[in-house]
Amino acid sequence: MASLKTNSHLYVVNPEDSKSNKSKNSKEVGMKKLKLGLEMKEQRMTTDALNEKLGQYPIMQKNGHRNSVSPEDGGNKSQKKTKKDEREELKRELEMDEHIIPIEELYARLGADPNMGLSPEVAKDILLRDGRNELTPPKTTPEFFKFCKHMLGGFSLLLWLGSILCFIAYGIQVASTEDPPGDNLYLGVVLAIVVIITGGFGYYQDAKSSRIMDSFKNLIPQYALVIRNGEKLNIRAEELVVGDIVEVKFGDRIPADIRVITAQGFKVDNSSLTGESEPQSRTAELTNDNPLETRNLAFFSTNAVEGTCCGIVIRTGDRTVIGRIANLATGLDIGATPIAKEISHFIHIITGVAVFLGVAFFIIAFILGYFWLDAIIFLIGIIVANVPEGLLVTVTVSLTLTAQRMARKNCLVKHLEAVETLGSTSTICTDKTGTLTQNRMTVAHMWYDGKIVESDTSEDQSKAKHNISDITFLALARIGMLCNRAEFKVGQDNVPILNRECNGDASESALLKCYELCIGNVTSYRQKSKKVVEIPFNSSNKYQLSIHETDDQTDPHYLMVMKGAPERILDRCSTYLKEGSEYEIDESFRIAFNSAYLALGGLGERVLGLCDYDLPLDQFPLGYKFDTDEVNFPLTGLRFVGLLSMIDPPRASVPEAVVRCRSAGIKVIMVTGDHPITAKAIAKGVGIISEGSMTVEDIAAERGIHPEDVDPREAKAAVLHGSDLRDMTPAQIDEFLRTHLEIVFARTSPQQKLLIVEGCQRQGSIVAVTGDGVNDSPALKQADIGIAMGISGSDVSKQVADMILLDDNFSSIVTGIEEGRLIFDNLKKSIAYALTANIPELIPFLALILFNIPLPLGTIAMLFICLGTDMVPAISLAYESAENDIMKRAPRDPIKDKLVNERLIGMAYGQIGMIETAAGFFVYFVVLGENGFLPNRIFGIREQWDSTAIQDLQDSYGQEWTHYQRKKLEYTCYTAFFVSIVITQWADLVVRKTRRLSLFQKGMKNHYLTFALFFETALAAFLTYCPGMEEALKMLYLRSLCSTFKKGKGRKRTYRLG
């Protein structure tokens, strides 16, 4: 089938033009190389590999630098060679001349026709050849590997090891004795089952969140208007091929890398590619050899904000510029998550303890004269007894519960470990637009009648306080409504005005929304005041002008309205409007204007000047032909009305969230592509630069000295321009990050974000980074926790991120951090609780070896503690509320503040564990003693006790016991020991409930925990008293146990220990 298609493709293409065919062939070769390159990309790459790919490498070599994050230092030669080849490959691939060659040559090369477009058949063939025009999602791990990771990662490995050891021990027993006890076999099987079930559960959880991820994709299919066979077709953007002629208009997403053929006022927002947030115009002429700089290229996935254009597709899918950058992110090598490090540290400790005890008792067993096979079985038994069987389940379930809780709070965690990583975060590098702000230009201030009037910028705009009857205000509004090309998209009548989507420039939309809110019916007003002619905004004249018929029937004339850069507007005015009357512009007005302009600009707001002019009817009668090229109407001597300033205002909840971050010791760094003044204003607005903090420039201005004379250490805050960052060495960056507490990076490109993240990580911080653009993906990946935006984020960034903010809101991150910190605390409690029971499970076995006593606690009863009664209480601790305000603590020091430290182990093993053991042994002695075996009889009895030949073993009272009767007694001991552990674990649970507070301060408000207490008890009662347990579990219900308790001592003792 495939070969047939290829043939037909050849048939279609061949007759066309030998030249184009040749170029196609060479392109195909190039494709193969590209594929080769992609395969190589799958190898792990580090930052330096990324940097190399971004083209930095050759320069660095010239400068004699050696990139130091280089894993191949000392690596073998062949690997280096591959890397070099790959680099060569990329270099060749990078050469791009589609924007340089004459457009006709390009048509010829791509076999395109600007009028007719490609024929559908050819397009289909090229589609088959090149593949669909979409980004390959970052290399996702195959499901099977994900599953294996869950099965073999961290904790599971320990359990597998335990399981294998059990099987080995069982094997030894089978080989050496004729009737081996099945305990080791059961234990091995149970351990294996635990790992498989928990691994499956973890896998299921991750799969669930990736399903949610998938739902983000393909929500709205992108369409592109393409010319095929001379017809304009609306096809899905994925089906575009190289050589297609497409038409793009404002509001569209650029469907592929295109070269502009013709353009009308066409502007693109390149922010996701370069970080430049100002729209840039695009025309047909070549302005720069650098493809990123030239005006005749528009790039895939950037947005068209204004105008229309017709262009030819030159690259599609992964071969687009953005596609290549997105692919680089997949190669970044990321380290282990903090919780993974913690767990491996924990495993180290546990393994250390286990091996130490195992070897120690192996030696002791030899000294005591045990047979070596028995000694090996003891060794294995001790190591296995140290494995906390239930902990894997506990940790997984606790993290899952938190992940679910976070998802309800709009933080979707992609893999469980990220839950805790968020809690360890000590630095957040956040975007401005959309994360800190509402991502909605809003009119913030107006200046008219000589005063600055504040406009409401809150999300609901509930308290607008303009005086609608003001004549100047109305004049201002008229200009704002008429000299405005923005329009509401249709079909949004039921949507609140502020949430409606608009076609057009962000500031014009802001004006539109503002006046739709205060006055209303903008559309009908515009219809009444018909637009006659307009001059659109351009960067040379910096104003926009339109001429309208007046809606006033009694006084028909033409009205000219103009808006633009304030100083340019003022230059064109001779009068100004104040409280209904016109005055000549004088020096005092100019001063007032300048101070207002500076004040508004200093707030980081975008200021527009507005003026109008009533064209006199005698000079410009109705029906006058206005000509915008040969301007035949006055452009000076206009009437100045006022200033409008706009800003993307911060979200209401952000300042509080920043304060919480600060009190939690988390450094919040703003990284934005915006202008430093705007960035600083927003940073001040949300508290990233706190009140009273000054930057170097502020101090300099205050003292009246040059900024360079100020010691940077005096300034708490800093705003760094991207171009300055570019010139800094890593050491300088480190110095900068250390010196200043409140940092704003302005005018940064997404690439520089990566530098900032690395810099923070060098400080030892655990860094969270937000990002939405494709180009953010390397930074997202490099960060300890990458946070993608659920609403505005691109698919690629979501794929790369560890977490997704469903509402794009910064405060959700803070909520997430709080949950992450809480789970760290609670995991500590859970682990401490679950580990405690390890000691009363282990010591009976040690006592058996040392004192030759009958086994006090059987393997199966032990498993029932770990995986039965202890499970629910340990998980219930995940529901514990925070003890005090966890957001007032400094973030966890990843080096010193460990999840499991010696203190916790000491407390669990050395103290509470020993108390529980003492309780268990007391009950054991009571059960044996009441049945006739007093402690002095027990020591050294084990060989006879376990012998099936001896049917008449005497107890302390001369009674004689058959083997069967002795075993029944032993099982009763197991049960008694088991119950005593359960009871002491009640107390342990309550003890673990709090770490700093007293129980009386904390109270028993965690109902899951209360339930767990009852559940644990009920389960223990069930296991003890349910008929049939004797055979199945070696847990013997007997009245002896009751009567032990009837006497009240076993219970009283354990109770007191709590």
């Binding site: 940097n51 971004l54 083209g55 930095q56 320069i59 660095m60 400068n63 630098h65 050696r66 130091s68 894993p71 270099k91 990078l94 050469e95 050899d289 650098n290 493809p291 700089e293 570019r726 800094m728 050491a731 480190d734 490109s749 690439q751 530098l755 690395e758 060098r762 050395g910 103290q911 042994f921 007391f922 002695f925 009571v926 003693g929 009441e930 049945n931 006739g932 007093l934 060989e943 006879q944 030949a949 049917q951 008449d952 005497q954 107890d955 302390s956 009272y957 001369g958 009674q959 004689e960 016991w961 058959t962 069967y964 009767q965 007997l1038 002896s1040 009567s1043 006497k1047 001592k1049 003792r1053």
Partner: protein, 317 residues
């Protein structure tokens, strides 16, 4: 190449000072050094991460802690002991796991690992340990020894059936002469002749008294060996082949255990009654599996629990 010009300008300063070691992956050597430093850090003079003073404090803490714990444990054990009677087990009768279901004990049982009795009458060494085992056991029953314990043991020659309950605090003397003339030390308990004598005894259970069969209720299978006031003993091969191979069996005393020795009440000097089972002609050179059972109305037999019966194997060469 051109396309990345702008990037390269931005990134060309990313070279990181090699003196800053944050990015270095730990090598094996540095790991080893870290571990060595952990073991002993000469700078901080710490061993395993703690200074000597710190170790001292922690040891002192745990010393005191464990002493307190041990003291508490010991005091609780004292309390427990104070509730016990030294002669009477706390749990008796139905409360006890023994449940009034006595098992059977046997001698010789020289090795705790097996119940196989293997002997070759031509080689005395092969059964010497069995012989010593039985002899050692019977030393406790020497008539001289029993007589010297007058006061604690009484003569029950004249008692025919159960003793009166008021006499139960004294135990009856067990006369080893009842064990017959064939199974005596002088003949190596039959082992020398290849006709082994196996000693059986009923497990002591506090207060256990047999309920006897009467002439009417006695089961047919034991009618042959049964006599009034006795707990009958009967041994047989386990499988048909064993039944063929086992040969004739004699019991000393012939009717089994007399009831006058019951109940066991942990009396001073109590001797549990004994029975010798003599295999008078087992087939040589084959493994014979033997089960011996005792019969009374309140004795149930369960081969798994070994209640009221005992199992052993025998090879006579």
């Amino acid at each position: 190449m051109l396309i990345f010009k702008s990037f390269s300008i931005q990134l060309h300063c990313t070279t990181i000072d090699p003196a800053v070691p944050w990015y270095k992956k730990p090598t094996l050597r540095s790991r080893y050094q870290d571990f060595a430093t952990f073991l002993f850090d000469p700078e901080e003079s710490t061993i395993l991460g703690r200074t000597a003073g710190s170790w001292g404090q922690i040891c002192l803490f745990y010393l005191i802690f464990y002493l307190c714990l041990a003291g508490f444990f010991a005091s609780m054990m004292v309390v427990f002991y104070s509730t016990l009677d030294w002669n009477v087990p706390r749990l008796r009768g139905a409360d006890s796991i023994l449940r009034q279901g006595p098992g059977l004990g046997m001698r010789p049982l020289a090795d705790v690992g097996t119940t196989l009795i293997r002997l070759n009458k031509a080689k005395p060494a092969s059964f010497q340990h069995h012989q010593d085992n039985v002899q050692g056991f019977l030393a406790f029953y020497e008539n001289d020894l029993q007589r010297s314990e007058t006061g604690s043991l009484i003569d029950c020659e004249s008692v025919d059936g159960f003793r009166r309950p008021e006499d139960w605090n004294k135990a009856c003397r067990f006369d080893v002469l009842q064990l017959g003339a064939d199974c005596v030390k002088q003949q190596g308990f039959g082992l020398e002749d290849g006709l082994p004598c196996i000693l059986l005894k009923i497990n002591n259970i506090y207060d256990w008294i047999p309920e006897l069969y009467t002439n009417e209720t006695v089961p047919d299978e034991i009618r042959e060996n049964w006599a009034e006031n006795h707990i009958t003993v009967q041994c047989e091969g386990e499988n048909p082949a064993d039944k063929d191979n086992i040969g004739p069996i004699a019991y000393y005393p012939p009717y089994g255990f007399h009831v006058k020795y019951f109940p066991f009440r942990n009396q001073q000097g109590y001797r549990s009654p004994l029975v010798f089972v003599r295999f008078d002609g087992p087939v040589t050179g084959v493994l014979i599996m033997v089960t011996c059972k005792i019969y009374a109305r309140n004795i149930y037999h369960d081969s798994n629990e070994k209640s009221g019966q005992i199992h052993f194997e025998m090879i006579v060469d």
